[in-house]
């Protein structure tokens, strides 16, 4: 089998008052089917983020959690932060 490389979103979590969606992408290296390395890359989808390039799973969570109410609350929060 040799060396293989696999990438997958192994953790998607919703946190905080504004339902930030935290996505962890794992890159897994295997040798003959045995994992020999795993590294993580993270990004966060905020209520005002462009989610058009996200995975289907993340898009579903955006649809579920980033409601108009949450988006407005986050926009209000950002406006205050800029003051």
């Amino acid at each position: 089998m040799g060396i293989t490389k696999e990438t997958k979103q192994d953790k998607i979590e919703v946190v905080g008052d504004f339902k930030h969606i935290q996505v962890r992408t794992a890159t897994i290296i295997k040798e003959d089917g045995i994992e020999i390395s795993r590294s993580y890359h993270r990004h966060v989808v905020a209520p005002d983020s462009d989610s058009s390039t996200e995975s289907d799973n993340v898009k579903e969570m955006v649809k579920l959690f980033h409601t108009d109410e949450v988006k407005k609350a986050y926009a209000d929060h950002l406006a205050k932060a800029g003051a």
Binding site: E13, V15, G16, D17, F18, H20, Q22, R24, S39, Y40, H41, R42, H43, V44, A46, H77, L78, A81, G82
Partner: protein, 190 residues
């Protein structure tokens, strides 16, 4: 001293004495996620439990905090060798290091200059205050940033020219060859 050895596959993997536990080689794993080690106490208290540790990377980007967007190109794809963020999360605190190497910029204005893309959403101001960072090295900005604060309940750092909160960096401070290294820490909800 009496020792108890836990043996598997013909090798001693774990040794217990009256005072110590020794793992012969390899790591200590918990069968359930979210569990940790209680340090400095003899009872299980959340505030003394080390229950999360993670290392990884993220993709930092310059962004405008105002309505005038900027378009920034990076030397190396963001997330690669020249523009990269790395983090170590211990408990609810995230330690980060960021390198951003710009190779093109358009749309600069007097809007505040942010770095976006932090790997975890920060605490709100009320529950955790602001984390922040110090610019370790910066070059080729019209005005170099010196510090940054992590904005509450966001994944953004607002950069400052120094001299206090009345001097935020502006997107027009960036040039097509700006280079920045910043390191810092903040608390997170997760």
């Amino acid at each position: 001293m009496a020792l108890t050895k836990v043996t598997g596959s013909g090798a001693n993997g774990l040794t217990l004495s009256s005072t110590d536990v020794t793992v012969a080689s390899g790591d200590l794993l918990f069968g359930t996620s979210g569990k940790g080690i209680n340090l400095g106490v003899t009872s299980n208290t959340d505030a003394n439990t080390l229950d999360d540790y993670e290392q990884g990377t993220f993709t930092p980007v310059f962004a405008s905090e105002g309505s005038n967007a900027i378009s920034v190109g990076y030397a190396g794809t963001p997330g690669s060798q020249y523009t990269v963020g790395s983090y170590t999360k211990v408990g609810n605190t995230v330690h980060f290091q960021i390198i951003i190497d710009v190779d093109s910029i358009s749309g600069g204005s007097s809007d505040s200059l942010n770095i976006g893309g932090l790997p975890f959403s920060s605490f709100s101001y009320i529950t955790g205050g602001n984390g922040g960072g110090i610019v370790i090295y910066g070059q080729n900005h019209n005005t170099n940033p010196e510090t940054g604060i992590v904005l509450g309940s966001q994944t953004n750092i607002r950069l400052y020219r120094g001299g206090g909160a009345e001097y935020p960096s502006q997107t027009q401070d960036l040039t097509a060859t700006s280079y920045l290294q910043i390191t810092g820490s903040y608390k997170t909800d997760s």
